[in-house]
Each structure stands twice: as structure tokens, then as C-alpha cells.
């Protein structure tokens, strides 16, 4: 749970204009006002930097909430470690 909350914090820091502690794991990230192509690049960069996982932008299409994105990152990390 703590890791998921940390992920949400990383997201808030990576994307410009988001107030700290304003999002939750159930936030539909792609519907927030700040979401655009630049925000996507920042998210992908954050994932690469903080989790050492590279995710293609297209893979996020299957994710609706920040929890979904976190689970995608976690599963990729497990896959790469295996």
C-alpha cells in the first residue's frame, strides 16, 4: 500500500500543475485537467527514473486509474527481474 501511495506522489511531482496530495490511487489520471501528451512523456520518464522500467505509451491505454498504472509497472518490473 505504501508503495502505491509513493507512486501517486511520484506522479503528482512529475506532472506539472498538480497539487500535492490531490490524487488517489483511484484517480482516472487521463481525465485530470493537466493530462496531455507532455504529461504522458513526464509520466513515462518518471516510471523509467524511479522504477527502472520502460513502458511504451501505447501500453497505458489499458490503464484507467493510477492503481492500474502502478500494477502495470509492478508487473513489468517482475517480468524483467525474472
Amino acid at each position: 500500500m505504501q508503495e502505491l501511495e509513493q507512486f501517486v506522489t511520484h506522479f503528482e511531482n512529475a506532472v506539472e500543475g498538480i497539487e500535492p496530495n490531490s490524487l488517489t490511487p483511484e484517480t482516472q489520471y487521463h481525465k485530470i485537467a493537466q493530462w496531455d501528451s507532455l504529461a504522458l512523456l513526464c509520466l513515462l520518464a518518471m516510471i523509467d527514473c524511479e522504477y527502472q522500467v520502460q513502458i511504451p505509451g501505447m501500453a497505458l491505454k489499458q490503464c484507467d486509474t493510477l492503481r492500474d498504472v502502478y500494477n502495470l509497472v509492478a508487473s513489468r518490473k517482475l517480468l524483467e527481474a525474472a
Binding site: 506539472e16 501528451s37 507532455l38 512523456l41 513526464c42 513515462l44 520518464a45 518518471m46 523509467d48 527514473c49
Partner: protein, 402 residues
């Protein structure tokens, strides 16, 4: 404006041969980047109108020659690029950086080759000039004295700004070859106008919000109003500049987008060349260099293979000067340039598609066509082309003693 090149000029094989001799063998051509020739014996081949030219690193010196052995005419370097001494794969003659054969198997059996006549077997040479990491070549014609500033003369008034862009080029992000089933002039013309953006690039370039033109004028100080001032996606401030055979366009970008980019990509603040907006330079006949905000540099080399085929080589350079980046900035940089490469690739695919469509029909077109003010750079290109095709001075193309 009435175009000067008739439809048949885009598919006639005899015209292609004349173009090769009068244009491509008489002008500086962008060949490749120093990154590709970093090590001794690195080589790269460039096809110019059916003539294979090999550029090779000889202990740090870049030299360029016709890629054909003077013994029995085999291709010296068989691949497109690699690392290999300049040794003919047919009979083993090895050539040095002066283009002279210095190792000839069983030389005593060839009575004609003496120290005095060795120079008769020198490879046909090309002049080489560097601009930052960019390498340009020009056919060396026997008996012709090349002025010291010949290269700068071809760039004209754009020599200084292009030098600034070239010297800001850092690492290569992407280098791609495209073979298009379209005449080289169609490909050049496509790069010279934004009139097609709405139809061909509705989901790529159009979304950047660069201005179209209602009218244009020659002169660097002229600013042209955007076509739809009420449209927030359109911006003011696009204009052409002309210098001899060459032309450029400047387009301003949405200020809000620029500011957002500055805030998101703070690491780019240390880039050495900050350009306001988008600049695109065309140097006759085959070179394009463009940059958005000095963050990346897109270069193209457009060379004819035959009357209906063009080899378009595309380079995307990152800016240099991005030092000591944090882990997050490195990750952002990677995403930024990957995104830029995707964007360029998408645009090329769209442009290649439309150029090939035009090639299918231009052969049975009638009339001259017509050019809008937004296509004024095409008019300039046609004028340069017509002048080059009529200003024919015979050159020695066969080998002469040096």
C-alpha cells in the same frame, strides 16, 4: 505563379541524366555525419545519381572518392557502411587516403604501372568540407580551381545561421534511409511548402499550430499575418527568406506551448542554440536542415536514384551541451527525443505517401500547374533548377593525370 518545371520533367530519364551532370556533380552535397566516420577505416557510401561515392576515415582525415577501382572497375567498398581498408575485393588493390594504389598484388606483371604513371590510377576524388559534425562533398573536376569560399558561396546568406545550427548538433537520435518511388524534385517541393499540412498532416504538424500564409514577401523583416486570426491554434509570424538558390521559412509557435515546454524540459535550458520558433533551411539542390527551438535538428539529404526514385536520408540530432543531467532529466531527455523521432517518422511516412501518389499521375498531367504564394519557395527552387540546367559547362569526367 507559374511553375517552370513541366510535368514531364518529373519522369523523364534523359532529364535525370542531365540533372546528375549539371546539378549533382557541380554542387556541394551533404553526405553524412562525422559520427559515422569516427574511427580509422570507417566508411560510408552515398549514391549520387547512380554514382557511388565512398567517404572514408584515414587516420582521422575524411576523404571521398568514386567508389570504383581504377584497375578493372569493381566496387571498392561493397557495403553501405562499415570499417574496412580500402581494398578492392576483386584483385586486392589497396588504396590510401590520396586515392593512390599503394599495394598492388604482383605489380611487376603490370608493366604500365611505374612510379611516374602511378598517379594515372588515382581514384576520382571529391572535395570534403565539414560544418560541425556535418560532412559535405563536391565532385573534384579536373583542371578546375575551387575558390576558397566555394562552400560558403553555395550557402549564401544562410552560411552563418546554418553553421550555428550545425555546430549545435549533438548525438544522433535517429538516422533513417527512405527509398521513395517519386522524383527527387517532388520530394524537395514537398519540403518547401506548408500548403499541404491541413490535408496530409492533420494529426501531426497541424496540431503544432504553425501559421499558414495569406501572402508572402521576400525579405527577412517581413511578417505575414496568419490566415485565421480567430483560430487559437493558428499563430502569427511566418515568413520566407531567399538567398540565391536557397530559401528558408520561419514559423513562430504557440507561446503557451513554448512556455509549457520550458517548464517541463528544464534541462533543455542549457542548450547552446535557442531558436525562437521553427526554422527550416533549404540549400539547393539536396540539403534541408530544420530546428524547433534549437532542441533538436532534423536534416535531410534528397538524392535521385533514377527519374522516378529518390533516396531520402533523414538525421535527427539532439542538441549538444546537455551536461550533468540528473537521473530524472536523463529519463525526460530520452522520452523527449524518442517522441521527436516518432513525430519525424510519422511526418515522413505521410509525405512519402503523398509524393508517391503524385508520381503515379504526374506523367499524364497536362498544363503547367500553378503555385500559390504559400508555395513561393517552390518557385525559387524552380528558378535555381532552370538556371543550373541551362548553365552547362562541360567538365572532365574521365580520369586525368594529376
Amino acid at each position: 505563379m507559374i511553375p517552370l518545371i513541366p510535368p514531364q520533367g518529373y519522369c523523364d530519364e534523359r532529364t535525370f541524366v542531365t540533372e546528375r551532370d549539371r546539378i549533382f556533380l557541380r554542387n556541394w552535397i551533404f553526405a553524412c555525419s562525422t559520427h559515422e566516420l569516427a574511427n580509422h577505416e570507417d566508411y560510408r557510401c552515398v549514391d549520387i545519381g547512380g554514382i557511388s561515392v565512398v567517404l572514408q576515415n584515414f587516420d582521422g582525415e575524411i576523404r571521398a572518392f568514386n567508389n570504383v577501382c581504377t584497375h578493372r572497375f569493381a566496387r571498392l567498398q561493397p557495403g553501405q557502411c562499415g570499417n574496412r581498408e580500402m581494398k578492392c575485393p576483386y584483385h586486392g588493390w589497396i588504396f590510401n587516403g590520396e586515392g593512390l594504389p599503394y599495394a598492388i598484388p604482383r605489380k611487376p606483371l603490370i608493366a604500365e604501372i611505374t612510379p611516374e604513371t602511378l598517379c594515372n590510377y588515382r581514384l576520382s576524388r571529391w572535395h570534403v568540407r565539414m560544418l560541425g559534425p556535418l560532412i559535405f562533398i563536391k565532385k573534384e573536376n579536373y583542371g578546375e580551381e575551387l575558390p576558397e569560399d566555394d562552400f560558403e558561396q553555395q550557402l549564401g546568406d544562410f552560411a552563418a545561421p546554418i553553421a550555428e545550427l550545425a555546430t549545435a548538433c549533438g548525438e544522433i537520435v535517429e538516422n533513417t534511409e527512405y527509398r521513395l518511388k517519386a522524383n527527387w524534385k517532388l520530394v524537395v517541393e514537398n519540403t518547401l511548402e506548408g500548403y499541404h499540412v491541413d490535408c496530409v498532416h492533420p494529426n501531426t504538424i497541424k496540431k503544432l499550430g504553425m501559421a499558414g500564409l495569406t501572402k508572402s514577401t521576400k525579405g527577412a523583416d517581413s511578417v505575414v499575418e496568419a490566415e485565421e486570426e480567430h483560430d487559437p491554434a493558428r499563430q502569427k509570424g511566418s515568413y520566407f527568406t531567399f538567398s540565391g538558390q536557397n530559401s528558408s521559412v520561419f514559423s513562430s509557435l504557440n507561446p503557451a506551448v513554448s512556455e509549457r515546454m520550458d517548464r517541463t524540459y528544464k534541462f533543455l535550458a542549457q542548450r547552446p542554440r535557442k531558436i525562437d520558433g521553427y526554422r527550416h533551411y533549404y540549400i539547393f539542390p539536396a540539403f534541408v536542415i530544420a530546428s524547433t527551438r534549437g532542441e533538436s535538428f532534423s536534416l535531410q539529404r534528397i538524392l535521385p536514384i533514377d527519374a522516378e526514385t529518390t533516396q531520402l536520408t533523414s538525421y535527427l540530432f539532439a542538441t549538444n551541451g546537455l551536461d550533468d543531467l540528473s537521473k530524472m532529466d536523463l529519463a525526460l531527455k530520452k522520452q523527449f527525443y524518442n517522441s521527436a523521432a516518432d513525430f519525424v517518422r510519422d511526418i515522413f511516412a505521410e509525405d512519402a505517401g503523398i509524393c508517391e501518389q503524385v508520381q503515379l499521375s504526374v506523367g499524364f498531367a497536362h498544363g503547367t500547374g500553378v503555385l500559390s504564394d504559400e508555395e513561393q519557395r517552390i518557385c525559387s527552387f524552380h528558378e535555381a533548377y532552370a538556371a543550373a540546367m541551362t548553365d552547362f559547362r562541360p567538365t572532365q569526367t574521365h580520369h586525368q593525370p594529376q
